[in-house]
Amino acid sequence: MSTRIESVATKHSTVSWGPFAHGALALSDRAARTCLERGGQHASDLDLLVNAGLYKEHSMAEPALASIIQEDIGANTGRLLHDEHRHERGEHGTFSFDVMNGGCGVLTALQLVDAFVGAGTAGLGLVVAGDADPSPSTSRGFPFGAVGGAILLGHHDDGDGSREGFTRFELRTFPEHAKLFEVRLEWDAEANRNIVVVDEAPSFASQAVSCAAEVTKAFLAREKLTGEDIDLFLTSQYPLSFAKETARAIGIPLDRIPIVAPELTRAHTAGPIAALESAFESGLFARARRTLFVTAGAGITVGVALYEQDPPPDIDV
């Protein structure tokens, strides 16, 4: 039994504010719908929906944005709960909630969805992540682009005990570097409003690479793998050049990194989804036997996940 990636999608907004800008919710909704369409699934098939996006309209604290996305895409919103024939027709609900783990939110959400989908408790799960500056006219130092993404995960039971899908996750923090990247909403009495403030130290990018390399090297050693064994390397898009620098530090050949479209390179939580979509489109993902996800974010938090496919495809990248 395993969890497999069925499809992936991203959406972005080319303008950051004004009437034609798309907020995090709209981008997440659109990415979720496209992802389901690409996976050939209907929203009503979803058992689980986890949103990992952080920066959204009005910095809304409740409800979980996932519940609003669930309603917008029409995933078992509850209208059939009182239908007396729902049991015979196999109607079921969807459970939605948000994970807030910065740049590692998507990997955390993938781990949580994998827990339920891999064991067969859930049949189909969707991870969504979207961010957009909540107030572009007043935010200070907000570095992320308006990007939303979604990954569809399905349960598979091959019955042969083969090792496929997500095979291992790891999440580690380095609190000694907590001050290097901080985002908060704080009251500015002079401006008479709450303002999003981003404090990023110049050393954050290099330290994120260093922490990610340390965790990933140990991860690969435990799996008895080297950088050369990794066919596809998917990472956070922020900090910029994180993918290449980390690959160099680990010893993963640079041609294992997909080229991400320029408009997606400032994606925050959706960063690894942008990389995955590029690998889907170029065929790299289909040919990769071992895909390694490495993400980093404030904390410094590092997430690593290994995704394996069998039988071994022809690795001719």
Binding site: H58, P63, S67, F95, T121, T173, P175
Partner: protein
């Protein structure tokens, strides 16, 4: 990918009944310790209503059954409440901090560094694990309105059942009384959408979930669903032009749909477990107001022809403390010696989303016996790494 469930419950639940197609988990999870932190400062409903800008004529105490709630003082915020609750939880536990393998923070309010500094990154859970001395635990924050802590327990139950971890903690700190301050400024009439904000109190809570020593006690079933057609009935966000936050709730509608939609979900769960409602010794619903809880009780009895033996109401001195309410009620009833080993407790979440969740568990002797001021020892003996099958 659609699982071949012939008769699926509406909720996502764990464990599924045998023959459902889901993997049978080798272990069972158990609630081992509960800690709380209440700020010292008390504000009565009368005092809060005396502070309103407009003359409202609302008798809040009569309407809600809330006499007073706690409010943070200078130096206290969401993070400090969460840390203090986590430490209290460990003091009452057999576990040392190093036993905790996963820490989930579920605070709706994310004030860290003062009541006007709302932190997005780094996650609060990272600061909490540092403060309690569990630096190697996997950690993340989740957000699921007032169902946050229950969602965390739902997730830990899964990770423990599958044997991925043996011991985890869910923690939350809610500095949420500021919504009441904003509401007191804005509110004019009883039908105001900010009325529910006046019921909120500050608190921290933490719960340790561990691998159960045997199959008799522990979590029998945990389930959740999101009835998202009601997702926009309660919206909370920082105020654009004043420190703090605001929440707008269609209180009557959310109350009506929660009362209407809970019975069919409970029907599914009772069918799955082979229990009847009267087999539940204590039902602890989300603590919004005494009147709402009693109305829910009447609906259940009307629908099922019977009710649980006891329904817990714990709002009089606490108010609605958001994601922490179930664990505040549990801690209080444990302190008062009201639970007996072997009794069945059902925690029922009803939260913005609309999230409806259930954690059904049997009271473990250890949970009752553990002294309130137990100092953490070296790593506690945890159930052996031998899979247990149902019936063993």
């Amino acid at each position: 990918m659609t699982l071949p469930f012939s008769s699926r419950p509406w909720m996502l639940i764990e464990p599924r009944a045998k023959g459902s197609g889901a993997v049978e988990d080798p272990y069972r999870a158990s609630i081992e310790s509960i800690g709380v932190k209440l700020p010292e400062r008390r504000v009565t409903s009368q005092e809060l209503m005396a502070s309103t800008r407009h003359h409202t004529n609302i008798d809040l105490e009569r309407l809600t059954g809330i006499r007073e709630h706690r409010v943070c003082s200078a130096g206290e915020d969401s993070l400090s409440l969460a840390i203090d609750a986590a430490k209290d939880c460990l003091r009452r536990s057999r576990h040392a901090p190093s036993d905790i393998e996963m820490i989930i923070d579920a605070s709706i309010t994310r004030y860290a560094g003062g009541p006007t500094t709302y932190r997005f990154e780094p996650p609060l859970s990272m600061s909490i694990k540092e403060a309690i001395g569990a630096p190697n635990a996997m950690s993340f924050d989740l957000s699921n309105a007032c169902a946050g802590m229950m969602t965390g327990v739902f997730l830990l139950n899964d990770f423990i059942r599958r044997g991925v971890i043996r011991c985890g903690m869910v923690v939350s700190g809610e500095l949420i009384s500021g919504l009441g301050t904003t509401a007191a400024h804005d509110i004019r009439y009883i039908f105001s959408r900010q009325l529910a904000s006046l019921t909120l109190g500050d608190a921290g809570a933490a719960v340790i979930v561990e691998r159960a020593p045997d199959q008799r006690a522990g979590i029998t079933l945990a389930g959740f669903t999101t009835l998202s057609e009601h997702s926009r009935l309660c919206l909370g966000a920082p105020s654009p032009h004043s420190p703090g936050a605001r929440m707008f709730t269609k209180a009557r509608t959310i109350h009506k749909v929660a009362i209407a939609d809970t019975p069919p979900l409970l029907d599914d769960l009772l069918l799955e477990t082979g229990l009847r409602l009267r087999d539940i010794d204590w039902l602890i619903p989300h603590q919004t107001s005494a009147r709402a809880i009693r109305a829910g009780e009447r609906e259940l009895v009307g629908r099922f022809g019977e009710g649980p033996k006891n329904i817990v109401v714990n709002v009089e001195e606490r108010g609605n403390t958001a994601s922490t309410t179930h664990f505040l009620a549990l801690r209080r009833y444990l302190d008062e010696g009201r639970f007996k080993a072997g009794e069945r407790i059902m925690l029922l979440s009803l939260a913005s989303g609309l999230e409806i969740g259930v954690v059904l568990f049997t009271v473990d002797e250890d949970l009752i016996r553990l002294a309130p001021d137990m100092t953490p020892r070296r790593s506690a003996p945890i159930a052996p790494n031998v899979p247990q099958r149902a019936g063993e």
